[in-house]
Subunit: 202 residues, 2 copies
């Protein structure tokens, strides 16, 4: 497809696509100059991933570049690429040892094979620190409920990922992680609305 | 307590507290002038709520003001205040009728007493639209898993809220909604890391 079609299919304006090409976030098409080159499904998938990261995830371009580098590194396995692309999603934080230990024990009891002192694990611990600092600490019981819910959700999210090609699986997984976040947050708010109503009508 | 102590206890710098007082987000203390007035637990709770909304929730000051107005309106019940304060958290969106119908049916099957065409319901539908547009639509089966997880989490979140005073319950609920979001998102990412590893080691 040509540049105009790529823009129509992806919903990304032509000047934005040109910017991504200049920044080398999007590989060049076949042919000379952006407007005369031809693009394929690969470009469309890549554009969708970039839009998910920038638009929904609010990620700065520099970090998008790091995510894409991990996605593109053919020397690593799908799972490892997914992991390292994915790690870029969490900010690097320095949580308290106490919260870190809580995450460790909550996650170990579910037998997760993760590095609890990696970026995501530290992000969980830092978020627990923030609740504590705000005077609304999360109890261990509630944390256990959260871990179990995240387990069920993660399983459902990755269930349909087996029959895809390497690049596609990684792109989908990373985009799915980012795109699913607003769904989950809005549902939790809706669930709070439900709980608040139930508590008054009784 | 004096202004300096309020700053120490809340972790909010004095100039920021003075700004909140000027903007009338924080009620004045007893006495003349911010530095000579005395403050109490009420001010501390309010400051923590504002920090949760601004710092973690990234909410603009104008919307914080609306949330606080709902929290402070004594003429409405705790649940209603919680609901309306809470609704300010979601952006106002215009989703597709198809996604709206999916949310409706997913939520009805769990017997939630919510307005699925209210702000949170529309936010869920809009997030589903975004996944569709990005070429990674969420299946009905996955959506059902998300709804059930949100149900369990919402129940746990509001479980400890019965024995608090009105203002405190509303403040805690709204702050808890905002503060719990990063915990849940980081746990979901950690869960994806777990799933990705399990899929390669087998």
């Amino acid at each position: 497809m040509w540049l105009g079609e790529l823009s129509t299919c992806s919903g990304v304006p032509i000047p934005t696509i040109k910017y991504y090409l200049r920044e080398a976030l999007l590989p060049r098409g076949d042919g000379s100059g952006p407007a005369r080159a031809s693009y394929d499904e690969r470009h469309l998938d890549r554009l969708r991933l970039i839009r998910a990261l920038v638009g929904v995830g609010g990620m700065p371009i520099a970090r998008v570049r790091e995510v894409l580098a991990a996605v593109d590194d053919e020397s690593v396995s799908v799972a490892a690429a997914m992991g390292s692309a994915h790690l870029q999603l969490s900010e690097d934080t320095a949580p308290s040892a106490a919260s870190q230990a809580r995450v460790d024990s909550a996650v170990t009891s579910r037998r997760w094979r993760v590095e609890t002192d990696g970026r995501h694990g530290r992000a969980v611990a830092a978020a627990l620190d923030a609740m504590e600092a705000a005077g609304s600490p999360m109890t261990d019981a509630t944390l256990a409920v959260y871990v179990e819910a995240a387990d069920t959700i993660g399983r459902a999210d990755l269930a349909g990922m087996t029959d895809l090609s390497r690049a596609r699986a990684v792109e989908r997984a990373v985009a799915g992680t980012v795109l699913g976040e607003p769904v989950l947050l809005a549902l939790r708010r809706l669930s709070h609305e439900n709980q608040a109503r139930r508590r008054t009508r009784r």
